[in-house]
Amino acid sequence: MSRNTRILVVDDDENIRKVVIAILEDEGYTVESVGTAKEAIEKSKRKFYNIALIDIRLPDMEGIELLTKIRDTTPRMRKVIVTGYPTLQNAVEAVNKGADAYIVKPFDVKKVLKTIEDQLNKQQAEKQYSQDRVAEFIQARVKELDMEKEVTQKGK
């Protein structure tokens, strides 16, 4: 899955971005990064990312506010909040605003990779679920059309 998986890193600290990109690219992910919420909004509008790692403190907007802004435009993208100050309050707030997971700084690489893997698995399961529903819809709709045709033919 890694080769086709795109991750967007949203963090204003260039050093952190470099480290995260190196770690994730090493795992085979395609990684892009931005330093502001505004750039994140623009990029996620133009391209699909499987996951966004969003720092809770950004120069132009709080990470949690960014979650609200991109919730409707990127419903399938998994959003992971990155924070150096984990409190119950901001955990609850992040989840309420649409975060799918939480990563704490300084990074524990194993935990970061596990979180990403878990999120990708959930995304894949959701995708499969919605595809199955579409296939079921098609089947049911065609059955309806067949029945309509039968009724029309009997009526002739």
Binding site: S130, D132, V134, I138, R141, V142, L145, D146
Partner: protein, 110 residues
Amino acid sequence: MPQDHFTKVLLAAIEEGLSSLGDSPRDAIFYHLEASFQLKKEDIPLNLTDFKQALMRIFGPGAPYIEKIITKSFYEKLGLNLEDVQDVDLVVYVDNAKRRIVHAGEVKMK
């Protein structure tokens, strides 16, 4: 461009467009097109109006969205420009592409 090549490109665009719904929905559509609409996959490019009508019957107002994705993919494969319009009629746009190719020879295969 020979007709059979044009047909192949169109079929590839149709496959790609339907795949945007996912692999199992795409397979279900091809299966039902053949079983209920007597439209085999390989015959779709030559029976585009029937294909369009079948999509309309299955998806209702959602059908134009699928048509647009297929048209975009088709034009992209042919290297033709497709202006950004709201409604795209697949039959009209395929016909238009054919005319442009025949008369202008402007196709660059991707």
